[in-house]
């Protein structure tokens, strides 16, 4: 390329336009390339022949000014908006008048599912290597949260489900709702900010991130790096209830727990008040039964003692009565009258009963007492010793 210049002394000097023209012609030799980035600052005005936008790397934030003919842009009919990830085909171009570098696009394509999947896969490996999905990072869910945070779109269904489940299950916990755009351009950033904001709420002890089912693209923000980092760094435990069972957005991996639906998420974060009441009733019942059983046992023992007590006095009297009867019978057996009735007699001399024949003389008068009546008798013979039997 020949660039016009002048010689001043030993210097080769270019004019600005010559310099720019030179650079521009160098740039024009570079090949056409595809560049991937997030669309920002898109300006399409009917009166302008050129559409302007800025491409941005989502992570690093490096930017590139892109221009495109409005006619070409409109012909694509993509309806692209800020925040979308696109592939742009074009080449570097210098606006010679200003020396500004821009990327002249010939076509724009919305990023395909395969590209998104690959990007998500790359991000997943990166974040996994950082340890964001590690089990050790997971926090246990609170047993009795004061308030439950809910981050959701202006999607009445998810909110209604959570409200209903919370009211029926554990109405003590308040619900703090943060509504934000959950799909389309800028959704990732909004969700990430919402998670941070709701986590700082003084009463929120656990956070549910809910999003009903949707297309793959609809759920993309929940794999956005900012959202995944916000979930992993949340001050309170996060339960992810995003999409359906088979979708696994990256925020699911960073969350402390995962639920298939918003209702299931509520079941995870609050206890069931009815179940608690039932358990309390059961424990209370068991307590009552213990006390009643104990009292019943004591009463039974007491009754047994009382029965013993009732028997014992009679028993004691009976024993004494038997012993007394025995003594009485023996007493009757040795009664003097009974002895006389058997044929014995009492012989008296004077006032003394006689025991020894030798103590009376022949002719003495003695009294003989019989069972019935008595006799007066004179002694006619004395035999001092009884003959041997």
């Amino acid at each position: 390329v020949k660039v016009p210049h002048t010689i001043v002394g030993d210097r080769k000097v270019f004019s600005v336009s010559a310099f720019n023209g030179g650079i521009a012609s160098w740039l024009a030799r570079l090949p056409q390339v595809w560049v991937e980035g997030e669309v920002t600052e898109l300006k399409r005005v009917d009166a302008w022949a050129t559409v302007f936008l800025t491409l941005k790397d989502p992570g690093g934030g490096a930017t590139l000014r892109v221009t495109m003919s409005r006619r070409r842009f409109d012909a694509l009919a993509l309806g692209i908006a800020d925040g979308e990830k696109v592939h742009v085909l074009g080449r570097a171009e210098l606006y010679e008048q200003k020396g500004d570098l821009a990327f002249r696009a010939v076509t724009v394509e919305r990023i395909g599912v395969g590209d998104h999947l690959a990007a998500i896969e790359r991000l997943k490996r990166l974040l996994a290597a950082e340890g964001l999905f590690a089990v050790e990072r997971k926090h246990p869910l609170p047993a009795f949260p004061r308030a439950v945070g809910l981050l959701t779109g202006s999607d009445a269904a998810a909110r209604g489900d959570v409200e209903k489940a919370l009211a029926s299950r554990f109405p003590l916990a308040r619900l703090v709702v943060c509504e934000t755009r959950v799909q389309g351009a800028g959704a990732g950033e909004g969700i990430a900010r919402g998670i941070e904001r709701i986590g700082r709420h003084p009463e929120v002890d656990v956070l549910i991130v809910a999003r009903g089912g949707g297309s793959f693209e609809d759920l993309l923000p929940f794999s956005d790096e900012r959202v995944v980092r916000a979930v992993a760094g949340s001050l309170v435990p996060v339960v992810s209830a995003v999409g359906h069972e088979q979708d696994t957005p990256l925020c699911d991996l960073a969350a402390d727990a995962r639920a298939s639906t918003p209702t299931a998420a509520v079941r995870l974060v609050v206890p069931d008040a009815a179940e608690l009441r039932a358990r309390m009733r059961m424990v209370h019942g068991r307590l009552g039964r213990c006390v009643r059983d104990r009292v019943a046992r004591d009463r039974e023992r007491l009754e047994a003692r009382h029965r013993d007590l009732g028997r014992l006095p009679s028993l004691a009297v009976e024993r004494r009565r038997a012993r007394l009867d025995h003594a009485g019978a023996r007493l009757q057996a040795v009664a003097p009258a009974a002895t006389l009735r058997r044929g014995y007699a009492i012989v008296r001399h004077g006032d003394h009963p006689l025991r020894d024949a030798a103590t009376v003389a022949i002719g003495a008068r003695v009294e003989v007492e019989l069972a019935t009546g008595s006799l007066a008798a004179d002694v006619t013979e004395v035999r001092p010793e009884a003959p041997a039997p």
Partner: protein, 73 residues
């Protein structure tokens, strides 16, 4: 005769002593009658006391049924 103030058990022992002595047969006949009469008195006193206790037991309903429960059919 003044009522005997001794406890029942003592009276019963005295009665049994008398019976045992009378059964041995070594008691003088005059003594026998006195002793027997004493034994008889002890027996009546003991029997009277037992009857009194039995009466009290019945009055108090001891052993008839546990208190506070209805009488079984």
């Amino acid at each position: 005769v003044t009522p005997d103030e001794r406890p029942f058990e003592e009276l019963q022992r005295a009665l049994e002593d008398i019976v045992a002595r009378l059964e041995r047969g070594d008691v003088p006949v005059d003594e026998v009658i006195r002793l027997w009469q004493e034994g008889d008195t002890l027996y009546r006193e003991c029997a009277r006391r037992l009857e009194t206790v039995e009466l009290r037991i019945e009055e108090l309903g001891i052993g008839s049924r546990p208190s506070g429960e209805p009488e079984p059919d």
